[in-house]
Amino acid sequence: MPLLLPILLALACAPLAYVAGRWRPGAAAWMGAAGALAALGALVHEWTTQAPARLVLPWAPTWGLSLEFTRDGLSGLYAALALGIGALVVLYSRAYMPHHLAEEGRPARDEVRFQGLMLAFMAAMVLLVTVDDLLLLFVALDLTTIISYLLIGFDREDPESRAAALLSLVLTGATSVVFFAGAMALGLQYGTFSLPLVIERAAHSPASTGALVCLAVGALGKSAQVPFHFWLPRAMAAPTPVSSYLHSAAMVAAGVFLLQRLYPLFAPATEVRDGLLAIGFLSMGMGSLMALVADPFKRVLAYSTIAQYGYALVLVALGSEGAPLYVAIHAPCKAALFLTAGAVTQVTGKKKLSEVSGLRHSLPVLAAASAVAAAGLSALPLTVGFFKDEVFFHALARRGPAFMAAGLVGAGLTLAYTLRLWWGLFGGPRQDAPAAPRLLVAPVVVLAAVILLGGLVPGLLVEPARAAAEAMRGEPSTLELAYHLDARAENLLAVGAWALGALLFATRHAWTRALSRGLAAGSRVGAERGYRLLLHQLDRLSTWLHEKEVRDLRDRVASVLVPTGLLGLAVLGVTPLRDRFKVGPVGWADVTLVMALAFASAAALATLRAKGHLRLVLLISCVGFSLAMVFAFAAAPDVALTSVLVETTFTLLFAGLLALLPRARLERAQHEAQNPRGRDRLAAAVAGASAFLLSWSALSHLHADRVGARTVQLAEAAHSPNVVAAVLTDFRGLDTVGEMSVVVAALLGVTSLLRLKGRR
């Protein structure tokens, strides 16, 4: 199974880094980066030496489920991005996190946790891009959601950070549930969750629009497109390496990746694609405008991400074969710029453009490297970014002048805000700052070198770009990357965009204030406000329910018992009544049984008049023990043994619990129990009558030969002569697994609750 090697290596990174971190916190990053590079090496080796392949591991064949992985152009391109940028970001964090943790007043050990989470994020991303199965796709998608939640909320003492993490979890989690609905709809429609099969069958009967819209919503939420865009700037509360990875190669790319992976389903649905196109242009415009006025430099980059993925969305919606390439080229540029922003913040302690300037003198290497990255982002020639805009313009040029104009404005805005960012950091009047640690600068330099190399030798990119385009569209690709010195539409548009960007940058002081005022007015009615209102209302609803529920223990019990009782009575009411309630004969052989039952009834009646909780506990255990006696007489020694043991344990635990409760509360409960209200009697009557009638009815229908004999036979065949054990472990084994999980959950609850109280 050679296909699994890179995946397994990627999955192994986080545990390896954790182990290394136990030895020495600083070692975690190096170990993790080495693992990521090894996985990258394995991936590249396989990709260059072997043909595309699929791997199918049968998982639950009876349910038609299997674990399917693929090695095609798309998965190779995105996995290489996730691994390569992941390794660089992890190394960068080695230099960044100790400083960050010291500022937050946290122990240096926490770095290991951070690196582990980063590497787990990387592994989830690799998993997401290599699976070829709708269900696994969803699982991997949710993995990235959960890990990004932990990463964004890494500074858990900071309320803003926690709120941002929650926002991203709620938004991307909710939209991924919508994605799941779409995946289920597809699975039901085509009878399989295997993607190639789904795509093959979709060629004959196109997927329903509803399912496609669900899938698109999941992808849009992930890649922070309008109207789900507002979680992304808020996620800037995360440590900078997280933002860098999130925006370039992970979370946000995952959304666009989903659309590319599922593109053959979207291809025939023109109306859905038109919707995506509109959303793409909208995100592009909004993100660019916001990036033009934002002051914190991480925010400028965040809005730029929204805009750039808007472009990618446009490319997907147009069905352009450049879509995967666009994301792949954007990733190193954006990662390098984020890492630059983090380095500047660490060196100067400032976070806003208005607070820094002229750093080119003290940070010359960083300035040069980030200039290359900025040039890449704004598509200047000699960087690989040039080709990202070329494929973009190429796709738009086919659709007509209106599209071309929109693309021109978008690209012009990109150049304007990138120039504004770089100039704000490094240009202008000189400011001095201490030198940056080498490890903070090196990853940016590496990324800049990659961006330059791709720009100088575009031929290197042609093969992977074509393979990815083929995997996306399911047909051979003729994508070409080269510089053409002629007056074709792409070149004219690019020149126009540069001119527009330069003009906007030169006149920025004239319009910045008006634009920011306009955007602030717009944000008052935007989606973020809707989200806040919704959250507020949900909060109120849950508070109201909570108040209703916990006000009175008796009401809470009744709210469970009465519906259950009514349901039982309803079941009895709608089923035929013939031979329902039989009264069997009582012979001498049953005397012991009757005695035990009489004892149980007497104890149950005595609980009504019991004073004091300890007596109540003892009476209840009397009921339990007499029922155990019934089981013993009814030739079920197994059940009898278990119930004696359980009864003993619970009696003692109850007694222990009573010792913990405050006396005043016990007395109040006792007083309440002695003075039942009218509705308590009613609830008790409903529940009791239902339980009594249901048991009577069930016992009247016991056909020992029907169920029992068959079970005994089967138990013999299952090598488990003890029927109870056979039922518990074999016939109803999955039930037992579920029950035991509940027990462990209860155990966790007990541990945390009582420890919390003990600490106080």
Binding site: L57, P58, W59, A60, P61, T62, P637, D638, L641, T642, L645, V646, T648, T649, L652, L653, G656, L657, A659, L660, A717, A718, H719, S720, P721, N722, V724, A725, A726, L728, T729, D730, G733, L734, T736, V737, M740, S741, V743, V744, A746, L747, V750, T751, L754, R755, K757, G758
Partner: protein
């Protein structure tokens, strides 16, 4: 007053645990099983708590690590249930299969159900002991900081 109860309870511990183990091992064939075995082992520890107190009882390793033991138990249970899935069987497939020959000596039958039951035993034991331990901790702190 020197009571005979503490030494007696300590004497009872190991026999109870061994009976618990035997209940687990013979569960598949006759009366027994993981659930009662865990409850019995838990009861034996409970007795220690009542008689000798928290500090004395926590000298036993299994008592200190009761909650992680429950986690191990859950892993065993889930593993027995879902590992066969990797080999293409349905979840909760037990070995030997109905048509295969049994392996075993006397009352002891080797069967993957045994691992499953062992998981149940550890979970029940972990729950009982942890809850007792938490109660004991709580009453202990209350007495220290009492009114």
């Amino acid at each position: 007053m020197i009571s005979f109860v503490p030494p007696l309870s300590r004497l009872l511990l190991w026999p109870s645990l061994i009976i618990a183990l035997s209940l687990w091992l013979k569960g598949g064939a006759s009366v027994g099983g993981g659930f009662p075995a865990g409850a019995l082992a838990g009861l034996a520890v409970l007795l220690q708590y009542v008689v000798t107190g928290r500090d004395q009882t926590r000298r036993y390793v299994a008592v200190r690590y009761a909650a992680p033991l429950a986690g191990v138990g859950l892993l065993l249970v889930v593993g027995t249930a879902f590992l066969p899935v990797l080999a293409g069987y349905t979840p909760m497939t037990l070995f030997p299969r109905p048509d295969q020959a049994e392996v075993g000596v006397g009352g002891l039958h080797l069967h993957t159900a045994l691992i499953f039951e062992g998981g149940l035993m550890l979970i029940v034991f972990g729950l009982v002991v942890t809850v007792i331990d938490r109660f004991a901790l709580r009453t202990g702190t209350q007495e220290e900081s009492g009114p």
